[in-house]
């Protein structure tokens, strides 16, 4: 059964940002925080970041890579990519509906 990000409760939004960040390649915690802030303007705090990382790892959506000194990069799995595509499709649909109803399309 495919995991939906909405199952993650308050970690669903940070999880979406993390999956988006890892879609461009493996990153460790600090690189993820910087990347997410750059593309979304959201500053993820360490406690929230690792709460979301643990849940994503537990569901097999991301996987840890070998540690580099004290840093450990994470990469997106095939399941993670599928979950991200599904979530982005939903967001696209919502955005399109909103634009139509506002007369922007």
């Amino acid at each position: 059964m495919r995991t939906s990000l909405t199952e993650l409760g308050r970690f669903s939004d940070p999880s979406l940002l993390i999956l988006c960040s890892l879609a461009s390649g493996p990153k460790h915690g600090y690189a993820m925080i910087q990347d997410i802030q750059a593309f979304s303007g959201t500053l993820l705090e360490p406690g929230t970041l690792y709460g979301a990382l643990a849940r994503l790892e537990g569901r097999g959506l991301i996987e840890p890579q070998p540690a580099e000194e004290r840093r450990r990069p994470y990469r997106l799995t095939a399941e993670g990519a599928a979950a991200l595509k599904e979530q982005l499709a939903t967001i696209d649909q919502i955005a399109q509906t909103g634009r139509q109803r506002l007369g922007l399309l």
Binding site: E45, P46, G47, Y50, A54, R55, G58, E69
Partner: protein, 249 residues
């Protein structure tokens, strides 16, 4: 600030620290640490304790089942202690009879409902047994003393109430100590008193608030109502969490 943040990492569960502690410590050495960061770490640590299943390879069963049971016992005790002063605080004409029965039912039902949670893991069962009986004994003693001090008549009712609650808990814990093949079936049956327990607690609160409506009621009555509300909420949450752990185990 960074030293405080590093210290707060110790609030995380041991298993969490072993898995993510070093990475988080490294990250904290790189990012600017603000009060928001510290609050986020505290919240994250609390979340890690409440949701051990979030850790890869972690499970709700075991410690989480035990803590759920402990929270239920604690919440029940809190519920009883908040109820206790109502006899002094409410107007003399207030009829406490139905409320007392509600509390009796809540005590008994919560006690029985906590029994299935003892099956999470065998090594914690004896600890829970001691904890539960100890908490019940303490509650009984405190409430008995309060009953004696409240004067003739009322003390007897309190004694009956607390005796019922205590014996119910004791019976529950003794049943739990008997380990045999019917445990799983009993655990499922425990869901029924669980539902009754939460219903009784919420009914007790509703009645308390209804009785407290008169304008001359002390604001302490509302405080008691809020404490009972919190206790019932905690018990409801812990029951759901414990049952969820049992079903996943």
């Amino acid at each position: 600030m960074k030293a405080v943040a590093q210290f707060l990492l110790r609030l995380y569960p041991q298993a969490w620290q072993e898995r993510y502690g070093e990475e988080m410590a490294e990250l904290l050495s790189q990012v600017p640490v603000t009060l928001r960061t510290l609050a986020d770490l505290v919240r994250g640590a609390l979340d890690a304790h409440l949701h051990p299943e979030a850790l890869p390879g972690g499970s709700l069963a075991g410690k989480a089942v035990w803590t759920s049971g402990a929270i239920i016992v604690g919440a029940t005790a809190l519920f009883g202690l908040a109820w206790m002063p109502l006899g002094f605080l409410l107007p003399a004409e207030a009829n406490l009879g139905p409320l007392q029965w509600c509390v009796v039912l809540a005590f008994l039902a919560v006690s029985v409902a906590s029994v299935p949670l003892l099956w999470g893991s065998t090594w914690t069962r004896s600890t829970f047994l001691l904890f539960g009986m100890g908490a019940d004994a303490l509650l009984l003693t405190l409430l008995y003393i309060a009953g004696r001090r409240s004067g003739p008549g009322y003390g007897l009712e309190l004694g009956l109430l607390l005796g019922g609650g205590f014996l119910g808990s004791l019976a529950g814990f003794l049943i739990a100590a008997q380990k045999d093949e019917t445990q799983e079936r009993l655990a499922r049956l425990g869901l029924v008193p669980g539902a009754l327990a939460t219903a009784a607690m919420w009914a007790g609160i509703a009645m308390t608030l209804r009785i407290a409506v008169p304008a001359d009621a002390s604001w302490w009555v509302l405080v008691c109502g809020l404490v009972m509300l919190s206790a019932a909420g905690s018990a409801t949450w812990a029951l759901r969490r414990g049952v969820s752990a049992l079903l996943r185990a």
